[in-house]
């Protein structure tokens, strides 16, 4: 079972304040920490679990700047065999479609049975690369995948639907699955593995190697702005003691 995992390095914005930069089209990134996208981390773990069970290899691919190599090295430390970083000046402005085209050109000649991605990136939230890449590669796919059972070239897939319902279906390999969080328990790499991974080579591919002359964008962010607020909470002001007293009074009087 040879598996390709597409991973994205994203700013951690779940718990941090997000501010718009001077271009008005991007966010201020210098005070944010970056790490592997949450659902991609589950996809990576799923690939390593499948490899441990069925044999084969795990190749991780990421499009991004040199700092991406930290994320890729962590993937190698956890158990991936090979890492590819795709980078080019021509790839600075992209969208979901462009990223899928770029990744396709890098993996189309690899020997694989399965491609895994996360089901949503926490930065753009588009959930687009997985299904787009599957279509470009002409393989079946499913998103929001919460369980994978491989059996003789057919995968029994569990997919999360609305309201806690699960859909079960069979998909023929080769296929692409966009993995939902919670499918497994992502591991931490040991210090020894991290040290070993530091010495491993990461293959770097540019537009030239991939035969891409220019990236065609299908969509473009024109501006970022704070969501207009219809109703904002009444913010209680004061020390923890003061706000707790106020809130306790509100809660118990209603």
């Amino acid at each position: 079972m040879n598996i390709i995992v597409c991973i994205k390095r994203v700013p951690d914005t779940a718990d941090a304040a997000v501010n718009i930069d001077s271009s008005g089209k991007d966010i201020v990134k210098d005070r944010l920490t970056f790490d592997i996208n949450e659902s991609d981390n589950y996809a990576l773990e799923e690939a390593i679990l499948l490899k441990e069970k069925l044999g084969g290899t795990v190749t991780i691919v990421s499009v991004g700047p040199p700092e991406c190599e930290d994320t890729l090295r962590m993937g190698l430390a956890k158990g991936a065999d090979t890492a590819i970083r795709i980078t080019d000046e021509r790839f600075t402005e992209t969208d979901g479609f462009a990223i899928a085209e770029i990744i396709k050109s890098a993996i189309k000649d690899l020997d694989f049975d399965l491609v895994l991605t996360g089901c949503i990136a926490t930065d753009d939230g588009a959930s687009q690369v997985g299904p787009t890449l599957a279509e470009l590669m002409d393989i079946p796919h499913a998103t929001l995948v919460t369980k994978i059972d491989v059996n003789n070239g057919v995968v029994r897939v569990h997919k999360e639907l609305e309201g806690g319902l699960t859909e079960v279906f069979d998909i023929k390999l080769p296929a692409l699955f966009a993995i939902q969080t919670g499918i497994n328990e992502p591991r931490y790499a040991s210090l020894i593995a991290i040290r070993r991974a530091a010495a491993k080579e990461i293959k770097v591919l540019g537009a030239g190697e991939l035969g891409i002359e220019e990236v065609s964008l299908k969509t473009k962010v024109e501006s970022l702005f704070r969501p207009p607020v219809a109703k904002h909470a009444e913010i209680l002001q004061g020390t923890p003691d003061e706000v707790s007293t106020k809130l306790a009074q509100i809660l118990l009087s209603s």
Partner: protein
Amino acid sequence: MKKIFSLVEHRRGEIPDVSYELLTKGRELAKQENGEFTALVLGHNVKEFAEKIKKEADRVFVVDKEFLKEPNAEAYQIVLSDILKKESPFLTLIGHTALGMDLASSLATSLNIPIATDCVGIDIEDTGKMPVLLVTRQPYNGKLNAKVSFAAGSQFMITVRQGAFTSEQGNLSGKIIDIASPIEKEPDYRKFIEYIEAVVGAVDITQAEVVVAVGRGIKEKENMSLIEELANSLGGVVACSRPIVDADWLPKDRQVGSSGKIVKPKLYIAIGISGAFQHIMGMKNADTIVAINKDPNAPIFNEADYGIVDDLFKVVPVLKNKIKELKAS
């Protein structure tokens, strides 16, 4: 004439709200553009649905085949791609749902149509020459909005977030048109097996009057007791957002949100939850909403009645004691 299409989803005999929202939005945009609005219904024995929605559109396209009984994205793609190739609509709207996420990006790619996903706003601006299509999206978990434009073209696709638009009943008298399917059975690479129902747990959070929900901000499993104690002091139940279930700190039946439970308690307290829309969908109809979060721009504060912007670890223990004191006095 500009054609606008909306896909009407249905599963197990029910049409979700988002489909009615898309029917309303599609109809509005078609009217604004002097265009024609078409609703698409794929399924088996779906005449009843077609009748039900014929007021909503100028035309209702029905593809009725046994293999379309369950919404299978790969089968839908083959059928829809055939229709969209023949009809070349200016705009196709699909819900950003579990089905829409499988279907839309792949379908748009196969037709070489630009697509924007999970949109909360759609505007067609008349610039004099070509009408310009712009959408609003919510990147960074709803912390920001983005205006997004498309590459030049004559056909576009948009997936729309549930609840982004309101639905109103239409007063058109749509023509129901049977459309032939290019295939007679589902493709052999994706075969539906079954549905598995949500697990029913010991505590039904949908019945509770007070729900204290916890999210990523709680950081460690050991800290969960803080939330339990607060819930106890208020006679409420503990619920959570997705990351807590992913970490296995609470069972799935405690998850509030679009893929979990929809709750409407008298009081909902969100602690360490930033308020991604998937969570908001599950709790926005609570009578009173309180949020405690350290990020003043967390979207949860746009839903809440009362907010505390501070570290939950500083506030929650004190709050629990204050409630106990007040109750005792």
